[in-house]
Symmetry: C2
Subunit: 393 residues, 2 copies
Amino acid sequence: MVSLAGGMPYVTALPLDMVGELVSDLVRQRGPVALQYGSGQGDPHLREQICDFMTLEGIEAGADDVVVTVGSQQALDLITRIFIDPGDVVLCEGPSYVGALGTFSAYQAKVVHIAMDEHGLVPESLAQTIYALHTAGQRIKFLYTIPTFQNPAGVTLNVARRQQVLDICAKAGILIVEDNPYGLLGFDGEPMRALRADNPDGVVYLGSFSKTLAPGFRVGWALAPHAIRDKLVLAMESAVLSHSSFTQLAVGQYLATQPWQEQIKSFRELYRERRDALLSSLDFLMPPGVTWTRPGGGFFVWATLPEGLDSKAILPRAVAERVAFVPGTGFYADGGGARNMRLSYCFPEPDRIREGVRRLAGVIEQEMQLRDTFGTGSAPDHPGVDTPGPDLA
Amino acid sequence: MVSLAGGMPYVTALPLDMVGELVSDLVRQRGPVALQYGSGQGDPHLREQICDFMTLEGIEAGADDVVVTVGSQQALDLITRIFIDPGDVVLCEGPSYVGALGTFSAYQAKVVHIAMDEHGLVPESLAQTIYALHTAGQRIKFLYTIPTFQNPAGVTLNVARRQQVLDICAKAGILIVEDNPYGLLGFDGEPMRALRADNPDGVVYLGSFSKTLAPGFRVGWALAPHAIRDKLVLAMESAVLSHSSFTQLAVGQYLATQPWQEQIKSFRELYRERRDALLSSLDFLMPPGVTWTRPGGGFFVWATLPEGLDSKAILPRAVAERVAFVPGTGFYADGGGARNMRLSYCFPEPDRIREGVRRLAGVIEQEMQLRDTFGTGSAPDHPGVDTPGPDLA
């Protein structure tokens, strides 16, 4: 099976001997701290290191405004817990991250999607949607956006639009939750400037070491304005008391002693090669009528099938041909995405990616022939195959 | 300062070299798994080990019904999230764990305390309270109880009462949430049989390695009936995607390769010595009129001051004399506990405990003299000193 479904980073590329030595030193030298309870806000030294880390994206912040969380997923959960009453509106790109949609749904938020194109969120669509919702008397709590190397679409909000999005939200008094796990994994040029860099009071920034180091430590964070930060710390204590001191100190030790910028550079090279393998084989093998995005970083390509095809219906046949992807509907709260599929290039090696695309192209071609013969492809709602859970995302 | 306030286990007693070697081997041998995302339910092998672990308390369970959580605090949070709508009633011992009360309050549950004596929860009080609440049309969602070496009271539900509590709750159709972090830290005889052991369908059991190994890994769990287990896994994924693979595998490796029962025995000896130091110095030094519980295990003694004294009002003077405790009011949701204090013996060494009690006895004596002279001790609501947060508990 070639899985183009999962969003797992390729942690095998880490120097495991070095990480092993580092965690062993940590226990021997700082065991009584690493093995003990920590504070709800997170290790103070790690929070300073996180601030240094964020300067790469133009963010100036103090450690006091950072809350370390169990992956950025927990930051998202706590933010939602704090802000959402049932029926409140959250604005999201369409499509958006399945784990975020799940959390918003768990708190009974109403998700309204904003159109996106190859340059990211469309500001006009954002402004119009806000106006329409305000007019309809609906309460918008925040805009959730992944501006850079978006999951699942693989597109990036361009510089001009960043300022427009900030302006529109500031004018409407709408908080922005900027989720940025892939920001440092761009294949060309310098990292994009974060939205947070240009509006410290109007943006909650969510970061993560899951893609720049390893998800197994579950170390993410939120950077938030004071009043929200206070509520996040209380929510954190109520939810888990404190995050693991051990994994927080391990990440801190890694940042303090290892060439982490070099490691990120090497991850970038690795993922760039895989993206290239995916795009070139799509270019070469996909039948006409299938289109896809061309990501400048991150993990994902978003493909669109021709009219009359349904990605969820195709999945069982693809799995039978030993290739997997994530159907598009899971990335919409409103039933959209039936013709879409997310293709991940982060985990399989380039040759496997090419083989996966070869299989997938064959399946899609067959589906198109079915459609041309019978007027439709495989029926949707095929039993036994459902949208993968968030751990696949 | 001698702190009799914190509930931190004495992790310094762990063989740190061994733990260091263990985590280093883990990365070298299983790095690609330990550093990767895991499943929402938790590592399957660790869940089997947890089942073996629970047999010490008479529990028979399958790994499929265990959900690994970020400390048992997260299990408590997720259970509350699943069951509580605002205004629902949770029954708790009075006093009860401050971190649980905080979580119940965060979800707007109404906490109703059940009387406790030196043999634990009073069954008659439980039955009467349930009857009164049912009669008043209130919706009781569960009984939250720490039956063994209770936090903060230090008392244990005796065997006869365990069956009564199970029967009362079963008859009333009320779920029991059994929180048992200290069950294996008894000073005499065999571990008590868990409530869960005698009613698999009516009890959600919460366990933790924070006190038997180390809190820094944040590995706890819930053992729940199928239907609740399913909801817990979904809630877990929504909250944090998955717990740290690294710390889960580290705990698993520890259980698989180290003499963990010997380690628990050595923790028991250590805490027994400290409990003895606390009780004997209380016996020797406390002025008449002060009473306290005599725990058979765990971390805490619950003291009661004479009429007219207020523990929260006394705290600033105690801190000035370099001894700290947790005032009793934080352990009640209804304003009770003004004359109580929780004294922890888990962290300071025996000589320090004796010195702490000497200082505290002096402060209480002075307060009693104040009261006898002026009719009252220090005024309550002294500014600047508040009930410590959950991370002190």
